[in-house]
């Protein structure tokens, strides 16, 4: 099995690497690029903890081979904001206790980002629907929905 050369942009930065075809994008991001914010839970697409944006669309990194992301633009949680410059979604999750252990959180945030970009006025029902593919074992989900709702309000106000 030969290595394949790939080039992809992650959080605005271009990377060129050689990789085995069977290398999952989740492992490529975590181990080859040292971006460990993307988490690995079930590794078969149902828990949502590996969710990133590929060409602007939410995607399970565990169900994508890195070679399939050749030429793609990837956004991971590291590209959403930083401790000193949090995205409104991150600030809202903090304020509304939308996380405890934090394992599901990057996946929740990337999914919520896609939702609010497409539907800035999302109702609680729509938020629940959009997040239904992201599992959380800690919070019981209510504070997560509260956080997304609060972030949506902030983002509407700021025109983001």
């Amino acid at each position: 099995m030969e290595s394949v050369k790939i080039a992809l942009t992650v959080n605005g930065q271009r990377h060129e690497r050689e990789t085995e075809p069977r290398r999952l994008l989740s492992d490529f991001l975590r181990e080859d690029l040292r971006l460990t914010g993307t988490h690995v839970g079930c590794e078969h697409g149902v828990c949502g903890s590996c969710t990133i944006l590929m060409n602007g669309q939410s995607t399970r990194a565990c169900l994508t081979f890195a070679v399939m992301a050749d030429g793609a633009e990837i956004t991971t949680i590291e590209g959403l904001g930083s401790v000193d410059d949090m995205h409104p979604l991150q600030a809202a999750f903090w304020e509304k206790h939308g996380l405890q252990c934090g394992f599901c959180t990057p996946g929740m945030l990337m999914t919520a980002l896609e939702l609010l970009r497409e539907n800035p006025d999302a109702s609680r029902e729509q938020i629940r629907e959009a997040l239904s593919g992201n599992l959380c074992r800690c919070t019981g989900y209510q504070t997560i929905v509260d956080a997304v709702e609060a972030a949506a309000e902030t983002m509407r106000g700021a025109g983001r």
């Binding site: 099995m1 075809p21 078969h44 697409g45 590929m54 669309q57 994508t64 399939m68």
Partner: protein, 289 residues
């Protein structure tokens, strides 16, 4: 676990893909990967060679061609689920998509890939069978069409040969006076169906002239429920008529018991969901589609 090693071929054209499939008997198609990669991660599938067709944008389309809707096999579920053309001309598919997985999976998964994977508890095969959609298969030897009803053979098994690529699904536009419904029970929304029922009805003047009832979760593939269809045709579609058809549906199936649901429960679901599906389809019929 991680997938077993495989050789990787990236097709840049349909011809490329067909040659690659013809060249090696172990070659398999990689489309969205939402079913295949999951199985590979669990080592339930270990293809020796994958032909990646994700660059074949010429297979990603939804076109109205005369009386038929043509859907390219690489059309992503998100595209199909939100397509106004599908909503207008094939509302059964739009209804089924309300039960299919979650957004991230729908963004990458493809209509063609889902049909070729032939997961018994998947919704789209039932939708294809309910409309008698012909599927178009291509290989280096040429092109052929096969009716959806003849395409699904068994668990993860279709009539597509190893060297064939599904390129298109063609659906006759739903008649204006047709009502359709897709009802499903799953453990959580988005999970595979325990039981799903796809129903289409044409009922001018109260009595039913044409009915399709297809069940998911009653065996190794989606099944048309002939007994239910026979009970409906010509019958007056009141509550009693619908209940009788639902009973006929329940009595005609012999679903498996498995980890997710036992046979008794699946039979009950067939009854209840058939009743709901026919009721809803009939209501939509009377409103003119």
């Amino acid at each position: 676990m991680k997938p077993a090693p495989f050789d990787y071929v990236r097709a840049e054209s349909v011809e490329d893909a067909l040659s690659a499939l013809a060249e090696r008997s172990e070659a398999r198609v990689l489309a969205g990967g939402q079913s295949l990669i999951a199985m590979m991660n669990l080592r339930l599938a270990k293809p020796a060679c994958l032909v990646d067709i994700n660059r074949l944008s010429e297979l990603d389309y939804i076109r109205l061609e005369g009386d038929e809707l043509a859907i390219g096999a690489l059309t992503r579920h998100t595209t199909a689920a939100t397509s106004p053309a599908v909503g207008e001309h094939w509302p059964l598919m739009t209804a089924a998509y309300g039960h299919v997985a979650h957004r991230a999976v729908r963004n990458r998964g493809t209509v063609g890939g889902n049909l070729c994977h032939a997961e018994p508890a998947s919704e789209n095969p039932a939708v294809a069978i309910a409309t008698g959609a012909p599927l178009v298969l291509r290989s280096v030897d040429g092109e052929r069409r096969i009716a959806a009803a003849d395409f699904f053979l068994s668990l993860y098994e279709t009539a597509a040969q190893q060297n064939e690529l599904l390129t298109e699904i063609r659906i006759p536009k739903a008649p204006v006076k047709q009502g359709s419904s897709f009802q499903e029970m799953s453990t959580r929304k988005g999970d595979f169906a325990l039981v799903g029922i796809a129903a289409t009805l044409e009922c001018p003047n109260g009595a039913c002239s044409d009915a399709r009832v297809v069940a998911v979760g009653v065996g190794e593939r989606a099944e048309r429920l002939d007994a239910a269809e026979a009970a409906i045709k010509g019958a007056v579609m009141n509550e009693a008529g619908i209940a009788a058809a639902a009973e006929a549906a329940r009595d005609s199936v012999n679903p498996p018991s498995d980890f997710h649901a036992d046979s008794e429960y699946r039979r009950d679901l067939v009854f209840t969901l058939t009743k709901r599906a026919l009721g809803e389809a009939h209501g939509r019929c009377r409103k003119g589609g």
